[in-house]
Subunit: 396 residues, 2 copies
C-alpha cells in the first residue's frame, strides 16, 4: 500500500479506497468495510465505503486529472479537489447542516473524505419523479443567504475577504463556465448540441443582438465581480434532498463571483421543472421558486441588519440596491442557464429525458423562450411574483 507514504497522485481502486479509509481511523478496528464506486466517472471517483457491522458509511471522493464530456477527454487541474473541500468547510461554517461534513482532505491525492449522504436522492432525479421536497426551497434560500452574505465584503474584514479571493482563484473551472454558459450557446459553436427542429429558434438567438448584449454584460460580471464565495454550479444535480433534509454538494467550481449567479442557477433549474410539469405539480415548483427568493432575501436582509460590518449598511436605499442587483443578476444568469441547458454542451435530464418527441421539443422551446425573456426583461421585472406571472402567462 503506497498511498499513505508516497503521496504521489494516483487514482484509487475500490480496494485501495478501503485501505485508505481504514488508515483514517474513522471506523472501529473490527469494521467490515465494503466499497463501491458510485460516481459517473466523468470528473471524479466517488467511493461509497460502508461498515457492514455498524452500517456506518463515508464518501471518499477523488478528483481525476481529466474531464470526460461526450466522449472527449481533456486535462483538468486536480487543485479543484482542494477548492471543493475548502469550500464545503467554509460554507459549512455558515450553513451547518446544509452541506456534508468534511472528515479529511488529502491535497496530494485530490481526495475529500466526507459525510455519507447515500440515504438521500439527487434533487434533480427526485424532482423528475415528482417526489416531494417540502424543505428544498427554504433550505436553499437559507444556504444562499448564509454562504453568500458571510463571505462578502458586507461581513468580512477586507484583509480576510481578499485572502479568500486569492485562495479560491479557480481559473480552469471558471473557464468552463465562461465558455459553456456565457459564450458557446450564443454563437454557432461546435460544442453546441440541439435537435434539428430547434434550429430556427437557435439561429434566432444567435442573431438577437439585444439578447447577446445582455449575455455579454452578465459574462463581464462573472469575469470581474468578486462579491462572494460562490458554489459556482448550483443546479439541482448538486443537491441531495429528502422530505426532511437538503445538502448541497460538489462546489468544485467555487470562486469569488457575483452573488446572483448561484441564485440564478438554482432558479433556472427549478424553472426547467415548470416547463415539464402541469397543473398542481407545476404549482409546487412555482411556489419553490417564490419561496427560494423570499427566504433568501429575508435571510440576507436579516444578516445585513444584524451582522454587516459595512459603514454604509444603514444608508437609506443601500441594502435594497444590493438586493435589487442580486435579483436582476439572478434573472439574467437564470436566462443563460436555461438556454445553455437546452442547446449547449451539457444538457439536463429533465428535458432530454422526455421520451415523446413533440413534447420534448415543445418543452425545450419553452425553456429557450423563458431564458430569452428573463435576459431581455430582467431590469423591468421587479419582484419574484412578477417572475411567477411571466411563467404562468407563457405556459397557459
Amino acid at each position: 500500500m503506497t498511498i499513505a507514504t508516497k503521496k504521489q497522485y494516483e487514482s484509487l481502486t475500490e480496494e485501495q479506497a478501503i485501505t485508505y479509509a481504514k488508515n483514517l481511523n474513522l471506523f472501529s478496528d473490527d469494521a467490515q468495510l465494503t466499497c463501491s464506486e458510485i460516481g459517473d466517472g466523468n470528473l471524479n471517483y466517488v467511493f461509497h465505503i460502508k461498515d457492514l457491522r455498524s452500517g456506518k458509511g463515508i464518501i471518499l471522493k477523488q478528483a481525476l486529472p481529466y474531464a470526460k464530456v461526450v466522449g472527449e477527454s481533456w486535462p483538468l487541474t486536480l487543485k479543484r479537489a482542494l477548492i471543493e473541500a475548502n469550500a464545503l468547510k467554509k460554507h459549512g461554517e455558515f450553513a451547518a447542516g446544509l452541506v456534508p461534513e468534511v472528515y479529511a482532505i488529502d491535497e496530494e491525492l485530490a481526495i475529500t473524505v466526507m459525510e455519507d449522504l447515500s440515504h438521500l436522492t439527487i434533487a434533480r432525479e427526485g424532482l423528475i419523479r415528482l417526489e416531494s421536497y417540502p424543505k428544498l426551497a427554504a433550505d436553499i434560500g437559507k444556504y444562499l443567504a448564509q454562504t453568500l452574505f458571510h463571505t462578502s465584503d458586507f461581513a468580512l474584514h477586507p484583509f480576510e475577504k481578499k485572502k479568500l479571493v486569492s485562495e479560491y482563484s479557480n481559473p480552469e473551472l471558471c473557464k468552463i463556465t465562461e465558455d459553456l454558459i456565457f459564450t458557446d450557446p450564443f454563437f454557432d459553436h461546435e460544442t453546441n448540441d440541439f435537435e434539428p427542429s430547434l434550429r430556427v429558434e437557435v439561429e434566432a438567438l444567435w442573431n438577437n443582438e439585444l439578447l447577446k448584449l445582455e449575455v455579454a454584460k452578465l459574462k463581464k460580471s462573472f469575469l470581474t465581480e468578486a462579491e462572494a464565495l460562490l458554489h459556482g454550479d448550483l443546479h439541482t444535480g448538486s443537491i441531495f434532498a429528502s422530505e426532511t433534509e437538503t445538502k448541497v454538494i460538489d462546489p468544485e467550481f467555487a470562486f469569488y463571483g457575483p452573488i446572483g449567479f448561484d441564485v440564478g442557477l438554482f432558479l433556472a433549474n427549478l424553472i426547467v421543472q415548470t416547463v415539464t410539469r402541469e397543473g398542481e405539480q407545476r404549482e409546487v415548483i412555482l411556489r419553490h421558486i417564490e419561496q427560494t427568493w423570499e427566504v433568501f432575501s429575508a435571510n440576507f436582509s436579516e444578516l445585513w441588519e444584524n451582522k454587516a460590518v459595512e459603514s454604509y449598511k444603514d444608508t437609506k436605499g443601500f441594502k435594497d440596491y444590493i438586493l435589487d442587483k442580486i435579483f436582476q443578476d439572478a434573472l439574467g444568469f437564470a436566462g443563460c442557464e436555461l438556454i445553455r441547458r437546452t442547446i449547449g454542451l451539457a444538457h439536463v435530464k429533465d428535458l432530454d429525458g422526455i421520451k415523446e418527441d413533440e413534447k420534448r421539443i415543445l418543452s425545450k422551446k419553452q425553456a429557450l423562450r423563458i431564458g430569452e425573456l428573463l435576459l431581455l426583461k430582467r431590469e423591468s421585472i421587479s419582484s419574484i411574483q412578477a417572475v411567477i406571472v411571466l411563467l404562468e402567462e407563457l405556459q397557459k
Copy 2:
C-alpha cells in the same frame, strides 16, 4: 557593507545607497557618485544618485516599513515595493515612455532602481505655478487606455488575467483608499481635517443620504470589480511632466479594480485646478479635462476594435456599454476624490496652498459642490462636454 550579502531588510543611508548602486553595474567603474535623499520621507526613501563625470543619474526608491501621516506612524507592508515595481514594468509593456524604466528590483530590501526623472517637475507643483503641459492630457489619456485595456479581460486570456489579479492583491494599500476616499470623509470621523468655516457644508454632506448611497455603490465597486490593473493613486502628484514629456510614477496602490477609478482620480485632480484658476488659465484645464477623456475613449475604442479577444466584442452596443460604465464610474470616483481632498485626511496643495482665507474657503466650497454634483448626477451626465458645461456653470 552587509546589504549585498545579508539581504535582510534595513533602510539605507545615502552612503549605503551609493555602494548599492555601484554593485548594480549601472555606472562605469570610474564614476563619481553623489547621492541625496529627495523623498518626503512619509512612506519611502527616494535616493537620487548621480555620476558627476557623465551626468547620468538613477533613482533608488526604498519602501519604509511604516507610513507617517500628520505626525502619526503606522506599520505598512514592504510588499508594496514589489507591487509598485512590477506594476511599473507591466504598465510599461503597454505604455512605453509614459512610465519610468525599471533597472532592478530587490524584494528583500524593498528597493526599486529606476530611470532618473529629476529633469521633470511633479505635475501638481507645475500646475499650481501655471506651467504649461501641452502633452499632459493626451499622454495620460493614452496611458489610461493602454494600461487599463491591456490588463483587462478584453485583452487577456482568463488564466493570465486571473494570475495577475492574485499577483496584485494589495489589501493593505486598498484599505487606505477604502477608508480615506470612500468612508471617513462621509462620516464624522477623527481622520477628517477641515476648516471650521466649512462645517455647515461638511455636515450637509454627512446628512445627505442620496449622496452617501452613491458613495456606497462606488465603494462596493472598488471592493469587488476586478476590471483592470489600476495605478490606484493617479493624482497629479503621481505624475512627472514637462512641456514634452509625461511619466506616471508611484503605482504602489496598484491592484485589480474598476477602470473608472484611475480615470476619475486624474480628472478630479484637474478639476481641483479649475476651482483655483480663472479666465484663460481655467480654460486650459477645461481643455485638459475634455482631452483626457477624448483621447482615453478613442484609444480604448481603437484597442477594442483591433485587439479585443472577447467573443462579444462586435455585439452591438457592448463597447458603448463598457465606455459608458467607465465614464459614469469615473465621474463618481472623481466626486469622492474632490470631497476627500478637501475635508479628509490627505489634502492637496492646490487648495491648501491658497494663502488668502476667503479665496481658499470659497475654492474648497466649490470643490465640495462639484464633488457632490458629480456623485449625484453621474448617471445623467452623458458626455465630457456636459461635464465642462457643469463646471463652467458652477464657476460663473
